[in-house]
């Protein structure tokens, strides 16, 4: 068991920034247990309020774990991709098709996040790619701490790709850096083309918007162009790819995007470590 945060893994480091006691009763509140003054003079104000400048980011601890993830992945040039979407947008199905296109040339691993069940990890494993399921219980997002615990997985060999399928949720996961190199937001055509405006945090933080299930487009009132325009209003730099995991339309541009992003990362990380 980790002696610092009490979790089961011993493989992550705790820098001074992330050191933290979990015991909420760790401080002695009994002021009268301090050494009594030697005189009998009553001192009504033994202590006064002190103002402390802190200037600490609330996400500093998560981000320090995310930096550890980045460092450890860079050692093997592992490109990591975090996928965000509402539940049911097609993340797992897309990952299954993605794996079929990338294997066996590129070693792959998937981390799955869901409240309950390992259904998604099982679907991935059926492709022959290793998958780890993280169950968040009542939790609504994956965080860097949870991902860091998986980094000793033997599938993360030299030049592997790690896909992280986040919990189906377009709000909370946006707030947690998982140490990924690329963040992808998926919106399906059954969801409404104003989705990027309704859920700007996920779009703002993403490198790519995938508009999925385009095979269903003829049956719904979804304007693909309007959805892409809305996404670019939030994040002018976001790339947009439309695809259908069912028919295979658009899968090639998606694979090309993965390979280009990964190639750029491998070149950049080589320069950094040179």
């Amino acid at each position: 068991m980790c002696g610092i945060c009490g979790c089961e893994s011993t493989t992550h480091e705790h820098t001074d920034q992330s050191h933290h006691p979990h015991s909420h009763d760790s401080h002695d509140h009994a002021k009268d247990e301090h050494a009594a003054p030697e005189t009998e003079t009553v001192q009504p104000e033994l202590s006064s309020t002190r103002l402390i400048d802190v200037e600490a980011r609330i996400q500093a601890r998560n981000d320090s774990y995310a930096e550890q993830i980045r460092t450890r992945l860079a050692a093997n040039q592992v490109w990591a991709c975090n996928l965000l979407s509402s539940p049911g947008a097609g993340k797992t199905t897309l990952l299954v098709e993605t794996i079929k296109a990338l294997q066996p040339a590129i070693p792959l691993m998937v981390i799955e996040g869901d409240q309950q069940t390992d259904n998604d990890a099982q679907r991935i494993r059926q492709t022959g790619t290793p998958a780890v399921q993280i169950n968040t219980g009542k939790g609504c997002h994956l965080d860097a701490h949870a991902v860091l615990h998986q980094l000793d997985h033997p599938a993360l060999t030299e030049s592997a790709i790690l896909f992280i399928e986040n919990v189906g949720n377009l709000i909370c996961p946006a707030a947690f850096d998982l140490g990924e190199q690329a963040r992808v937001c998926i919106i399906s055509v059954t969801e409404g083309d104003d989705k990027p405006l309704k859920y700007p945090d996920a779009v703002l933080g993403s490198d790519l918007l995938i508009i999925s299930k385009t095979d269903l487009a003829p049956y719904v009132d979804f304007d693909i162009g309007r959805c892409a325009t809305n996404a670019r209003k939030i994040n002018p730099k976001i790339d947009v790819i439309t695809l259908s995991a069912k028919t295979g339309e658009g899968i090639t541009p998606w694979i090309d995007w993965i390979k280009a992003s990964r190639q750029h990362y491998r070149q950049t990380s080589t320069l950094l470590t040179a």
Partner: protein, 114 residues
């Protein structure tokens, strides 16, 4: 509701500061929440009230300030305050706004006693 996870982080920061500065009680916590950050400020306030109960910061006063975001137009180069997205450039009305600030959530200050 990730506000609870964020409130837990605020508590951890408060506990670290208490150790560093030999405080036994935290009476108030001042936070600056960026207008473009990933949290609803009042939800965070509620989450803090719940999370801080029975801790060294029990019933600490929570002071929340919303910091405006800052955007820069990728078209005309104008800089401007951004309070929510989407935010077209007020000068040229283009949709090329890059967000420069407003996404941070920071514990600015806290007050406590020994």
């Amino acid at each position: 509701m990730h506000e609870l996870a964020l409130a837990e982080e605020v508590l951890i920061i408060a506990e670290q500061q208490a150790i560093q500065h030999s405080l036994s009680t935290i009476n108030s916590i001042k936070l600056t929440i960026g207008a473009l950050s990933c949290v609803e400020p009042e939800a965070l306030r509620w989450a803090l009230e719940v999370t801080l109960e029975n801790t060294l910061a029990d019933h600490a006063e929570i002071q929340l300030t919303i910091a405006p975001g800052e955007g820069k137009c990728g078209g005309c180069g104008a800089s401007f305050a951004v309070t929510e997205l989407p935010a077209p450039c007020p000068q040229c009305q283009n949709w090329q706004t890059q967000i420069l600030a407003g996404q941070d959530m920071v514990v600015q200050q806290l007050a406590g006693t020994e």
